[in-house]
Amino acid sequence: MALTREQLAQRVAQELQDGYYVNLGIGIPTLVANYIPEGIEVMLQSENGLLGMGQFPTEAEIDADLINAGKQTVTMAKGASIFDSAQSFAMIRGGHVDLTVLGAFEVDINGNIASYMIPGKLIKGMGGAMDLVAGADNIIVTMTHASKHGVSKLLSNCTLPLTGKGCIKRVLTDLAFIEIKNGKFYLLERAPGVSVAEIISLTEGELVVEGDVPEMQL
């Protein structure tokens, strides 16, 4: 069974470590905050200028001056700090964020990522995504493995305009957890009940399958 959005978030959350500063992109990555393991503390960085993002506010707490990068009203966690956009991206671009999770349209075997633009269709802009992929060492991309029509999004070469070049090492799709190295995809884990054969058939870029591929534990 392909992972649900919630399960994707759950699996990513297993990669969190105590004391991590984490930037979660819009969409599925945002859900990761709901699955932080017991006994682990992380601080969420929101690139509009907040480190230590808290939960959504109650009606009474709503403050127009306090939003996250998705423009949602939020609160501050204990020990939060506020800073300007240059400082925020100094953190991101200087490699100070421990883990970045973001979505994508396509990734390829060379670690390229396309996530911000579909020419002629979606041209809203990259926001902070180009900074995030260029600045972080530790990135997890979450995405669906293929389109509804079965067209793979894990490619030999991205077809859409790139968000970043050679910067992605780990991809979690609804079917598989994959590492990218040496110009190849490596299958690390498969979604519960999903066969290796199915993953191979939906992966256009070269996929290396070594030994028994374990099922994800969720």
Binding site: S85, R93, G125, G128, G135
Partner: protein, 235 residues
């Protein structure tokens, strides 16, 4: 207005001197911390052919979006746009030039513009459409591109509090691009929620020193919320 007193008494005075085809740098992220009344004054003046530098372009009837119907914006340099229909229409028709710029690069370009740095290298955008026409260089085995600074004829800024000398304090995430924008305008105009006397702000807590500020005006703000997300009280 004598000495260091930057306070002006009308929005007309605040934006005096803004002319067609000028470049305006605006603070704000989404609709948070935007100089909403200064934008309205630009709308009222009807200044045209503007190049706007701002992370976003507002929505249909609020923020920079209100400069679209009258075609006041010639070009926008932003990281994320198109939250409104008129924007998309003008962009698709080629009536509006859009220079998409990564958010961090945009912040750094404004800071560089204010700090006398004409250009800097960054890894952001390497190998992407953003790199087109830009110099690429390797440092320690990583690839970077050269990004030029941005300066504006005007910068429009929203702060929380100021003293009459133009020392500024921002509030929560309404800070965002405002401090950088403030440094990068030939004329920097700031609107605030409260003006106090010099000496009332703690010098250690001033986010933007008054040296960057040319004009200061007291405003009232709608502060529209784009994504009103709440949890129930019982959670």
């Amino acid at each position: 207005m004598a000495g260091f007193d930057k306070v002006v008494s009308s929005y007309e005075e605040a934006m005096a001197g803004l002319k067609d085809n000028m470049t305006v740098i605006a603070g704000g992220f989404g609709l948070c911390g935007i100089p909403e009344n200064l934008i309205r004054e630009i709308q009222r003046k009807g200044t045209k052919g503007l190049t706007l530098v701002s992370n976003n372009c507002g929505v249909d009837d609020f923020g920079l979006g209100i400069l679209l119907p009258n075609r006041q914006i010639k070009k926008i340099i932003a990281s994320y746009v198109g939250e409104n229909a008129e924007f998309e229409r003008q962009m698709m028709n080629g009536e509006l030039e859009v220079e998409l710029t990564p958010q961090g690069t945009l912040a750094e370009k404004m800071r560089a513009g204010g700090a006398g740095i004409p250009a800097f290298f960054t890894a952001t955008g390497y190998g992407t459409p953003v790199a087109e026409g830009k110099e690429e260089r390797e440092f320690d085995g990583r690839h970077y591109i050269l990004e030029p600074a941005i300066k504006g004829d005007f910068a429009i800024v929203k702060a929380w509090k100021a003293d009459r000398y133009g020392n500024l304090v921002f509030r929560k995430t309404a800070r965002n691009f405002n401090p950088m924008a403030a440094t990068a305008g030939k004329i920097t105009v700031v609107e605030v929620e409260e003006i106090v006397e010099p000496g009332e702000l703690d010098p250690d807590h001033i986010h933007t020193p008054g040296i960057y500020v040319n004009r200061l005006i007291l405003g009232t703000f709608e502060k529209r919320i784009e994504q009103r997300t709440v949890r129930s009280d019982s959670e």
